[in-house]
Symmetry: C2
Subunit: 382 residues, 2 copies
């Protein structure tokens, strides 16, 4: 792997400002959707059923609007870590100061990139205007509540992909805040290579913001159209094991549609999608694009090269093969020294402790996974 | 890998009767659906629109019935190899004698396990009675036309999974012919772990027949419900690269539903589904079943152990990583010395030549992949 590292170029000084960067941390809204009230016009509040006539003092169920979430399955392990609850009893992950203490201080994390907890399912909303309204208010809430609370927080701004022009405008608006380092794109049932998304990619590339994908948007929610390949999984454990399929499908789509030729500056960060599928996708795709090149003549390089240049992966959930050597070979195939970034997924149930996750990786790539790749991906905004 | 081989047990003499077994060869019907006429009652012929009133002298388009096939994509490489056409000009793969000469004689293949070309899409038919009628007639046609033509042919009998009881009855009927060594299950949009299929598994296990899965049934055909995860792929190259998702989903489903606890004798052969995804599925599933065991308490062993004991993979399309070492590590993870069987996929466009495919594998497992694993999977019928 040494020769590969040499190709990546020497570490610059900036890489050593931080000890550890966590690329997947979820803030939770303390008071549910009502927290968005101060960030909406009165027309917006009425439109979303969050207006003053309603008693929203308790969380969740009194709003006229809610963001869809995966309610098809029971996760008997609980979705959020109970011990991530602040002393005031608020929901796990709802207190920026407590999160800073429990996650950042305790683990030496100097930068945490936030991915909105409640807006993951925004891609499943049928109404593009409601989705855009929620996205903008959520970004303002995140900036005011979390990004102001601790200088170590950075965040994904979120967009409703249902209306790509509105999403592009929101990227240009919220992207003015330099603490937003990426764009969370909650998936719909349109694969990422499709022209539908190009205004979003154009705006993101213009501002130098990577696009982030995370599980549990449209693909986790619909039952009538199976959320994964082949049919609807029966159990949470099936769905959760198979959810890497959505990432496979979207990487294949991005490459085959030539998105990285069209947007040469674009980076895509896949969070919580795992790593074990990378060999299958790059080997199949490299082979198939050779055999079927007339169908996609705009794919000018090997798919595995586009992926290494443009797609970034995060560690959690880290594969745990019986032989650690197998994980190391996977890192070699995935070019982890360039493509992999640490993530904890705090405060979710299957949180990865950085001490264990990083130790499992080859020693020679730990610094790159801990810090350098994140610095290169998020740039100066980090 | 040597210690793993030792666990498998010593090769028995029977393993050396053959030089090479090909587990995925597609016979094609010379005259289209009209070839089924002699194998249908007159009521059956009327039911399927194949009765004598119709002029069926040309193939394909004059029948009232056709088996669904994947018509969503253009494969500009052509689906069938042109050079697999017999001298009489019939369709590629339609002549048992020519196939025997071109494929078996030329490559030293002593057993070829047939998987019906036209019936792959049977799982997409809405009508269970039509599917059952076609399956039975097809099995009789296959027995009369191919299994009688050369003593090296063995075959999958096909069933319509839409009516599991009828399918079980067909397994018990056609399974009387010892040349049928397995059951082809054309996938529907119901995952394989579901109770729906248990009568089929029961009958197959009773006769000692493995269940075979192959791409391009229901999952390749429907557009309204996306054929793969996350949305409908736009291009053939996308669909073809991603089709391993269906295999991932079904293996996960089989394990999580406890099918191998319920049917301890059952074997499942996954043809043409690739290998590169195996690490992702077994690592995620082993980890998740530990964390979520209350949801599926009937899963008593590690998922990777069920898979190694009950699921078999075929070589084509063989992964072609840049470093051959990576393929060898994949074989180790997949326990290929027990689980992998050679296949060519003749006469399809992406046929694997046995000389190249077998040479790419680790030398110490070639004999097992060429012959022994197939003998153990198909048993005395082979």
């Amino acid at each position: 792997m040494t020769e590969l590292l040499a190709e990546v170029g020497p570490d610059t000084e900036s890489h050593h400002r931080y000890r550890l960067v966590d690329c997947d941390v979820h803030p939770i809204m303390r008071g549910g959707m009502a927290d968005l009230r101060p960030h909406l016009s009165s027309a917006g509040r009425r439109r979303l059923g969050l207006d003053e006539r309603r008693d929203l003092t308790t969380t969740g169920h009194r709003e006229a609007v809610s963001v869809p979430r995966n309610m098809l399955y029971v996760n008997q392990a609980g979705v959020l870590r109970d011990d991530a609850r602040a002393p005031d009893g608020s929901a796990p992950g709802a207190d920026p100061a407590f999160t800073a203490q429990q996650l950042l201080d305790a683990n030496g994390i100097d930068r945490a990139v936030l991915i909105g907890g409640e807006v993951l399912g925004l891609g499943a909303m049928p109404d593009p205007d409601a989705a855009a309204l929620i996205a903008a208010a959520y970004n303002d809430w995140l900036a005011a509540t979390w990004l102001e609370a601790d200088e170590r927080y950075r965040a994904n701004l979120v967009v409703g992909a249902q209306d790509p022009s509105a999403a592009a405008a929101e990227i240009r608006r919220s992207g003015q805040n330099p603490r937003f380092v990426a764009v969370l794109l909650p998936l719909t049932n349109i694969l990422m290579g499709q022209r539908h998304y190009y205004p979003i990619y154009e705006a993101a590339a213009e501002l130098g913001l990577p696009i982030t994908v995370h599980p549990n948007s449209g693909e986790g929610i619909f039952r009538t159209s199976p959320p994964l390949a082949g049919g609807t999984p029966t159990y949470y454990v099936e769905w959760h094991t198979g959810l890497s399929q959505v990432f496979q499908a979207n990487v294949i789509s991005l490459v085959c549609h030539g998105v990285f030729e069209r947007f040469p500056e674009l980076k895509v960060v896949l969070t919580e999608g795992g790593l074990g599928w990378i060999p299958d996708v790059i080997w199949r795709l490299d082979k198939n694009v050779r055999g079927l090149r007339d169908e996609v003549p705009w794919v000018k390089r090997l798919p595995s090269e586009y992926i290494a240049d443009h797609v970034r992966f995060t560690t959690q959930p880290l594969p745990e093969p019986r032989r650690r050597h197998h994980l190391h070979v996977l890192c070699e195939i995935a070019q982890a020294e360039r493509t992999l970034m640490f993530s904890s997924d705090y405060p979710h149930w299957d949180f990865d402790d950085p001490r264990h996750a990083l130790t499992a990786l080859p020693a020679e790539i730990r610094q790159r996974v801990s810090v350098d790749n994140a610095v290169e991906t998020y740039g100066d905004r980090l």
